[in-house]
Amino acid sequence: MPGLEDLYREIILDHYRTPRNRGELESPPAIETRGHNPLCGDEITLYLLVDGEGDDAIVSDVKIGGQGCSISQSSASMMTQAVIGKPVSQAYALIRRFKTMMGIEGYDEQPGDADVAMGDLEALQGVVKFPVRIKCAVLGWNTLAEALDRAGV
């Protein structure tokens, strides 16, 4: 059996204890989306600001609200750091890359996704060994994807 140290890596616990980009953004102009895990009741509220149009669109700010376990909270916290300031196209690529890392079946990885830097997010690799926690890890990412879709740039 994989040990707890595979799951609760120090960087994950650090993001859990001190979550980055927590809070709210005025909505509108921010896009507000909610995600929840029906199995455990965890809820997340995500606020997204996008600047620019088309290929020039940039994720200018993301804030996270709601409650969740160490995995969902740290994953969302790291996600905000990874996408803020990045082109929207790269944010989508990061979502695909992350879901691929989580081993989500049928996920459609596109050419070039592998070039997206995962950075600290690699620490969440261990979650794959605890299948029931994968839903926790991807909760924030699905919520971001929904917000980006709604931004429609």
């Binding site: 059996m1 616990l13 204890r17 455990c40």
Partner: protein, 410 residues
């Protein structure tokens, strides 16, 4: 057979399983219970020697299978003191039993503005079917609130029941363990002219049950929480009430006759048992009932009261302010269900850490999200006991919780 924990445990094959070299500490029986050898053997034996359709074919084997199935019904009737086996309806699970009540009785008797009274500690199975009726036909749902220690606050019960057509409540909360005064609540419902519906899923496996002494009208419960197989649930109802209710699902077995123009229904219980029922499951359920009867429901309840007292004292004693256990402290009015908050840890993380030591608990909303809102939490960790649990299991839980701090360093 006197209640002897060591003997009881030997009846459950899964309890001898080890994961990563250490024993299983199964504290999730409020979710579903483990199965004794005799239940497994009864189902295997039936499948190997007696399996056939029931109520349809006239050869000897089919008669034998029908008799085995009906013996399950008689055992359940005996367990809850039904006045006739015909008052026991087999369903898929207790959730289906609750939906049957809302669809059949509610469908025939509830219209716009009619009031259904529920409580704040109900399982989703006793909430959503009524909300579906509300959305379809505009019934009103009222709620009995809770006291600070998680018991029903009955101060305004008479006003809440005023004009109500149904009072539907749990006989034991799956989150708080709270056991309300069921007979008193049934009497109050009847005084107000309301139907008394009892969700007894958590109650029947752990307590001697007498539906007639309760004075209830309809009672739902399930097999899989009382050492029986999953896939079969029960509804008990007073015969004249069941006779008057329209059918729930249509199809084979539930009809008296069918023509091109229409159908007539079979008498109960067949009226509510459309299609091939859970045959093998009824056979296993009978073995489970006989197992519980051999141990004695009063002795099972006594064992669990002692264990719950020990668990409350052990966890509060070891962790003090670091643990909040919801629900009443008095084990006379609570069953062996302990939902708690531990330090600042999220229940998902608590259960993950406990799993490292094979301590199996449930983390989440326990299908009682409205109650979570009332408690002001998103989710809890829940340890729930059954007849095979002992003080060693509680100690294992406490030891595993003590280890949680090392990882999170809060």
């Amino acid at each position: 057979m006197a209640f002897d924990l060591d003997v009881v445990r030997k009846e459950f094959p899964i309890l001898s399983r080890q994961i990563d070299g250490s024993p299983l500490v199964y504290l999730d029986s409020g979710n579903t219970s483990q199965k004794p050898r005799r239940v497994i053997d009864a189902m295997t034996d039936f499948l190997e020697n007696s399996y056939a359709p029931i109520n349809r074919s006239s050869y000897r084997l089919a008669g034998e299978a029908t008799e085995a199935f009906e013996a399950g019904r008689r055992a359940v009737a005996r367990l809850v003191n039904a006045s006739s086996p015909d008052e026991i309806i087999f369903t898929k699970n207790a959730t289906e039993s609750m939906n049957l009540i809302a669809r059949s009785w509610g469908g025939a008797n509830l219209g716009e503005g009619d009031v259904v009274l529920l409580t704040h500690m109900e399982h989703h199975a006793n909430i959503v079917p009524w909300q579906m009726l509300r959305d379809e036909r505009g019934i009103e749902i009222r709620w009995v609130p809770l006291t600070a220690d998680g018991q029903l606050d009955l101060t305004d019960l008479d006003q809440l029941l005023d004009g109500a057509k149904v009072f539907s409540f749990t006989a034991m909360s799956n989150v708080l363990g709270t056991i309300p005064p069921v007979a008193k609540l049934c009497a109050a419902a009847h005084d107000a002219g309301a139907l008394a519906v009892v969700d007894a899923c958590q109650y029947v496996p752990h307590n001697a049950t007498d539906v007639q002494a309760w004075g209830a009208d309809l009672v739902a419960f399930s097999s899989h929480k009382m050492c029986g197989p999953s896939g079969i649930g029960m509804l008990w109802g007073r015969l004249e009430l069941l006779d008057a209710m329209p059918p729930f699902l249509g199809g084979g077995n539930m009809i008296d006759t069918v023509t091109l123009d229409g159908y007539t229904t079979a008498p109960v219980p067949a009226k509510f048992e459309a299609g091939t029922p859970p045959i093998v499951e009824a056979v296993g359920l009978r073995a489970a009932v006989e197992f519980l009867e051999d141990l004695g429901m009063a002795d099972i309840r006594r064992h669990e009261m002692d264990l719950t007292r020990y668990a409350l004292d052990t966890l509060n004693g070891r962790f003090g302010d670091e643990i909040t256990i919801y629900g009443p402290d008095d084990v006379e009015v609570r069953g062996g269900v302990l939902s708690f908050a531990f330090r600042d840890l999220h229940p998902h993380d608590v259960s993950q850490i406990l799993d490292e030591r094979n301590v199996c608990v449930r983390a989440g909303h326990h299908c009682a999200k409205p109650l979570m809102q009332v408690l002001g939490v998103q989710s809890t960790t829940r340890a729930s006991f059954y007849l095979y649990n002992g003080t060693d299991d509680v100690d294992a839980l406490a030891d595993a919780l003590a280890g949680a701090t090392d990882i999170f360093g809060f």
